[in-house]
């Protein structure tokens, strides 16, 4: 590039020769040069702006194009990267404490009609009616001709599916479904409850728990993160089946209206078996919500539990140091209070020790003990044992069963409640109460989930000494008292009978309609399990008269339950020759 000198000598000379001013010339030239420079820069700036504009436009167009592409394309899972294993079962299984399956899923198909694809509605309606006899072909055809999508069946068997397939009708389509299956059947019907379809779609359907454990743990069972981890319950399927068998035979033998049975760990409150009769097949759950079979007597049934409550009165008196097990109590009857009379079931001596009041089940004696303690102490004690609130069991039914206590807790209420009338609670409340008293005095909260934690000192309701006396009394009831029929050699069974008159709808109590309850704890030297058996209106003709007391009806069933369940739970009986060890020694179990 050839540079022009700023003040070329030739130019200066030429300007001088022409008589001009070389400076002015110079200034003119400089101005020209600057103008040219500005023009160039302006061009460049314009070019830059245009380019920038294009770039921005291109950016916007790219974003808009991408958005349009995303908006119009079908969504798809990212296939690359570590994709989690696809979940096949949308609802987690439920297993018992040994891992035996109680509830699982089975893939099945729903059947629907897509009229827009339908070729021959008449033939399709005929064909469907042949496969599903309860369908009406004429109605079905009219419905297809309405031209709207509808479901025919929510789950069909593989055979039915094949037959529908063979109709060759493109308007009949299948939707994948998961069906809840309860292999254990009737034995676990009330605990598990049931599941039903929620939102329906042609590609999947929601399974929602409708009752029992399925309802309580619905969120846990549907949680995709835990779908592969089965929910382990504290139930033992073998024990559950055995308990149901015993109760079913009992209902048959005693012509009872129903029965409830609970086997619960006395230490942790884990429910090992819980049965209510009559029951139903959970695989074909009754549709009608008012069906009496759906009622869970063990956790929903509020009953006055009768003499089993006397133990709580005695425990209160002993724990407060008012009476000892050998303290004498006035048991003269009848005890008159206003216009009410409290009588005993049979004649008793005028004075008995507190122990004998429990063993012989004296109403008058218990009422007098309650009078010594007072209303507030009784209320507090029962509240401490959980008798005034629903149990903590993980069943929706249980959380709604609030015990019925008298609205005005008068002195008369106190006296009747002391021997089990006037306060209605569920058999599960009773099981928890007995477990709390017998296990050393720590309040037990029933649970259905495996791995329940034992209560701590913070849950103490009675002292260990009181608990020991309670155990001795319960054992004495079975060895010398009303509960003899519940004894099982080798298992040191203790327990208490309770025969409660049923209240009549119009008020007052029915004459010969009773609820027989037996609450047992075994082994008595170191309680492991609590068994509560409750029979509704059982009776048997034995030894010359019709018997309706719990000692004749519920106690033998409790004994039979223990005989069947203790070996299943791995407990060895004590050898028959050995003397009974003192309460406090440990029974060996495997």
């Amino acid at each position: 590039m050839i540079r022009k000198p700023l003040r070329p000598l030739a130019g200066v000379l030429r300007a001088r020769a022409a008589g001009g001013d070389p400076d002015a010339l110079e200034a003119h030239r400089r101005a020209e040069r600057q103008q040219a420079l500005r023009a160039t820069e302006r061009r460049r700036a314009e070019w830059r702006l245009t380019l920038l504009g294009f770039l921005v436009l291109a950016g916007f167009l790219t974003a808009a194009g991408r958005m349009a592409a995303v908006a119009t394309s079908d969504p798809s899972e990212p296939t690359a990267g570590v994709s989690a294993a696809r979940i096949t079962a949308a609802r987690a299984d439920i297993v018992d404490r040994a891992g035996r399956v109680l509830a699982t899923n089975l893939p099945t198909r729903g059947l629907y009609v897509q009229p827009s694809l339908m070729i021959d509605p008449a033939a399709a309606a005929e064909g469907l009616a042949a496969i599903f006899p309860e369908l009406e072909p004429v109605e079905l055809e009219a419905r297809i001709r309405q031209g709207r999508f509808f479901w025919v069946r929510q789950s069909i068997s593989p055979e039915q599916r094949q037959r529908v397939h063979e109709l060759g009708e493109p308007g009949l389509q299948f939707a994948p479904r998961e069906m809840r299956l309860y292999p254990a059947g009737r034995a676990v019907s009330h605990v598990l409850g049931g599941a039903a379809f929620g939102q329906l779609d042609v590609s999947a359907a929601e399974l929602l728990g409708t009752a029992g454990v399925e309802h309580w743990f619905d969120a846990r069972l549907r949680d995709p993160a835990q779908a592969g981890v089965p929910l382990a319950l504290s139930l033992d399927l073998s024990a559950q089946v055995a308990l149901r068998e015993v109760l079913a035979r009992g209902v048959e033998t005693y012509k009872a209206k129903g029965a409830a049975g609970i086997v619960m760990s006395a230490r942790t409150g884990e429910v090992v078996a819980i049965v209510s009769l009559p029951d139903f097949d959970p695989n074909a759950r009754p549709r009608d919500a008012k069906d009496p079979r759906l009622f869970n007597r063990a956790v929903q049934g509020l009953y006055e539990l009768g003499s089993t409550f006397k133990l709580f009165t005695a425990a209160l008196a002993m724990d407060r140091g008012v009476l000892g097990p050998e303290s004498m109590v006035n048991t003269q009857g009848p005890l008159v209070w206003g216009r009410f009379k409290i009588r005993d079931f049979h004649r008793m001596p005028a004075q008995m020790s507190l122990r004998d009041v429990i063993v012989e089940s004296s109403n008058t004696g218990t009422a007098r003990v309650a009078m010594m303690m007072g209303v507030t102490a009784q209320q507090d004690f029962l509240r401490g044992l959980g008798f005034l609130e629903p149990t903590s069991l993980q069943l929706s039914e249980a959380s709604q069963a609030k015990p019925m206590a008298p609205p005005r807790w008068s002195e008369l209420s106190m006296m009747t409640i002391s021997f089990g009338h006037g306060l209605a609670a569920t058999p599960l409340h009773l099981a928890a109460g007995y477990a709390s008293l017998a296990n050393g005095g720590l309040r037990v909260r029933p649970t259905l989930v495996k791995g329940g934690s034992a209560p701590t000192e913070a849950d103490r309701v009675v002292g260990p000494e009181t608990s020991r006396h309670i155990r001795e009394m319960l054992r004495a009831v079975v060895t010398d008292g009303t509960g003899r029929n519940a004894d099982v050699p080798g298992y040191l069974v203790g327990g208490k009978t309770g025969t409660a008159d049923k209240p009549q709808p119009g008020g007052g109590y029915a004459r010969d309609k009773v609820i027989q309850t037996f609450a047992a704890v075994f082994p008595m030297n170191d309680p492991e399990y609590v068994v509560v058996i409750s029979i509704d209106e059982g009776s048997i003709f034995a030894a010359g008269e019709t018997r309706r007391t719990a000692g004749w009806i519920a106690a033998p069933l409790a004994g039979e339950t223990i005989r069947r369940i203790a070996p299943i739970l791995g407990m060895r009986p004590l050898p028959p020759t050995a003397p009974e060890p003192d309460a406090g020694a440990t029974l060996v179990s495997n």
Partner: protein
């Protein structure tokens, strides 16, 4: 020189293009394989679910009870009872014969011997016949065999309990 450089860079670009093309198709093939494998896994899982459900269904308590009742004569099974617990003394352990120590066993004590011979004719450990319920006793003339001695001729695994075979 320029032309060489130009050709070289063109070759490099072409090479990279070819490499990218191959990687792209390899990736797509791998993704397709992953998808196929995942489908297979899902299928296997579904099959496992069905098999587990069928296993549980076939083992349902009602069915087992029916089977036990139907085969009562062959199996003689009943509910577990408290008197069904055995004692360690009821187990027959193999009789052990130590090898002779008289020849060539210098410095070896009996305690060192790891290899022990089981008595000839002993067919293996077996439990004693389990106690039978009174109702199942066939007749008073049959004495329930509770002696721990086992005759060598009885095959261990296939024979019914000694009490039932008499």
């Amino acid at each position: 020189m320029r032309i060489v450089l130009f050709l070289l860079s063109a070759l490099v670009v072409a090479g990279f293009g070819f490499w990218a093309y191959r990687v792209n198709y390899d990736t797509q093939a791998a993704l397709r394989r992953v998808a196929a494998l995942q489908d297979e896994i899902a299928g296997e899982r579904a099959a496992m679910t069905v098999l587990r459900a069928e296993w549980a269904w076939l083992n349902r308590p009602e069915r087992l009870a029916d089977l036990v009742a139907a085969n009562a004569s062959a199996l003689g099974l009943g509910p577990l009872q408290p008197d069904h617990f055995g004692e360690p003394s009821m187990v027959v352990f193999p009789q052990v014969i130590p090898p002779p120590l008289d020849e060539g066993w210098d410095g070896v004590t009996r305690a060192d011997l790891a290899i022990l011979e089981v008595a000839a004719g002993f067919a293996g450990p077996r439990p004693l016949p389990r106690p039978r319920l009174l109702s199942q006793m066939p007749s008073p003339s049959v004495s329930p065999s509770v002696s721990p001695s086992v005759s060598p001729s009885v095959s261990p695994s296939l024979s019914p309990p000694a009490g039932a075979s008499e």
